[in-house]
């Protein structure tokens, strides 16, 4: 009896062990943290520097060229919008100091290209406004497709953006980015994640310390701005207040040089970069992957844009 029950236990426990091996999933393992290289790429997507500005300049210019060609093929006129001169190596942004000289934020150059301090209606919009009403509908259809045929982009924050996919603009975006959705992501995802990072940054003591140091340095040079972004905005608004482009250009050079000096002393932008990496380490892997996809798509789109601007043939996706 005793030996039979012992045998029974052995068989039973053997069965349980086998069953356990076959039916229980492996214990959950924490997902591998993103590689440092991936975090660097994700951080670059959330940082506007000279390279980002140049890429944006090329993408905008190439899209303008593609849209103009497409509209002409429909027998319609299109007035290309000038984004201004290509950003120089000395361009300083709120998030990165440019390497070249003279230091500039590129504000006066952009406003100069837009005419009248950027307050005028773009020439292309003026042209369309003066078309007879009956022609405007046909023109808009050719440019953007139906205003009722929309697709939805849902961002990580839950925000939804709808967008048109048709017409010459849709075609140009597909040529550059592979899909209209990818083109919209290029603009919307950095904004969406960036606002979350800005909220994170505002509660980081290390960043506040560097910012205070930057503010003191700038005040010593005669400029009382709360941060580099505020400095750029304040300069950008001068033309709306009647400041001439010549004076604005001189002012922005002086401020950008002071900003560069104060950044070196305060390590403000380096601190932001470190905080950004810290922030990204706390994010879900899905968000990092999303930023990596934006980076990859943008790199490809810029390659296409360079070929478009050089006049080389570009195959349709």
């Amino acid at each position: 009896m005793r030996s039979r029950s012992l045998l029974g236990w052995l068989i039973l426990s053997g069965l349980v062990t086998v069953a356990g091996c076959s039916s229980h999933p492996a214990p959950p393992t924490a997902p591998a943290p993103p590689a440092a290289a991936d975090l660097d790429i994700a951080a670059a997507v959330l940082t506007t520097d000279v390279r980002t500005l140049r890429d944006g300049w090329r993408l905008f210019s190439a899209q303008q060229k593609l849209v103009a060609e497409c509209m002409h093929s429909h027998g319609l006129q299109y007035l290309v919008t000038d984004p201004g001169p290509e950003p120089t190596a000395g361009t300083v942004t709120a998030e990165a100091i440019g390497g070249g000289r003279p230091a500039t934020y590129g504000i006066a150059a952009e406003l100069s290209a837009q005419g009248n301090g950027g307050n005028t209606i773009p020439a292309q919009d003026q042209y369309v406004r003066h078309l007879p009403l009956a022609q405007q509908g046909r023109y808009e259809q050719a440019l953007g497709g139906s205003p009722n045929a929309l697709q939805m982009l849902r961002l990580a924050s839950g925000i939804e953006v709808q967008y048109r996919t048709g017409g010459c603009v849709g075609q140009a975006r597909r040529r550059l980015f592979g899909s209209v959705e990818t083109a919209l992501r290029d603009s919307m995802v950095p904004q969406d994640v960036g606002q979350t990072f800005d909220a994170f940054l505002s509660s980081e003591a290390t960043y506040h310390s560097a910012l205070s140091s930057w503010q003191r340095c700038m005040a010593g040079a005669g400029w009382s701005y709360t941060n580099p972004r505020a400095a750029i905005k304040a300069l950008g608004s001068l033309s709306a207040q009647g400041t001439s482009l010549k004076r604005l250009s001189a002012r922005e050079t002086v401020v950008a040089m002071a900003d560069s000096r104060c950044d070196k002393r305060s390590h403000l932008r380096d601190t932001r970069r470190l905080e950004l990496t810290k922030f990204l380490r706390q994010q879900p892997n899905s968000l990092i992957q999303q930023l990596l996809r934006v980076d990859e798509a943008r790199r490809r789109a810029v390659q296409v844009a360079v070929r478009v601007l050089a006049g080389a043939p570009v195959s349709s996706p």
């Binding site: 005028t120 292309q124 406004r129 967008y163």
Partner: protein, 152 residues
């Protein structure tokens, strides 16, 4: 206006007015409930940035062309803050034809927070959307500026 909660009474009133008007026109022959005219983002015309008082493109649109540093200059009686589009918009459409994105600014003179809407894109509901400084976009837009760099 803060989304549907504040929109509903107004819609109720307009439905009633429309219903009465329809009844007057058609007499007692047709006393059917009348649906309100559906608001649509497609009310926006080419070349314009359009904004609405309420979410889902209701109450407007206000039509903006060119860059405008002070929306106090654009009256709209339905806007509760001061009867102008300043601090009033709850949804928007960028129907510009130039390829430029449009920046929506938090403060007059292009100050404080900013949010950029690319060409042929639209947002039906500002209530969950923030400027880049974390402030809510709803009922806080005060200026618009067209830009070729629509990333931040």
């Amino acid at each position: 206006m803060k989304g549907w909660a504040s929109l509903m009474p107004r819609r109720g009133r307009s439905v009633t007015r429309l219903g009465v008007a329809t009844a007057l026109v058609l007499g007692s022959f047709l006393m059917l409930p009348v649906a309100p005219a559906s608001a649509a983002a497609s009310d926006c015309n080419a070349t314009q940035l359009c904004v609405w008082v309420n979410i889902n493109y209701n109450g407007g649109p206000g039509r903006f062309t060119g860059s405008n540093s002070n929306w106090n200059n654009f009256p709209h009686p339905a806007c509760p803050y001061n009867g102008t589009w300043n601090n009033c918009a709850s949804s928007a459409v960028n129907d510009g034809t130039s390829g430029l994105g449009v920046q929506l600014w938090e403060t007059i003179g292009y100050h404080d927070g900013v949010f950029c809407l690319p060409q042929f894109a639209q947002v039906a509901d500002f209530t969950n959307r923030q400027f880049n400084n974390g402030h809510n976009l709803n009922d806080r837009v005060s200026a618009n500026k067209w830009t070729s760099a629509c990333h931040d």
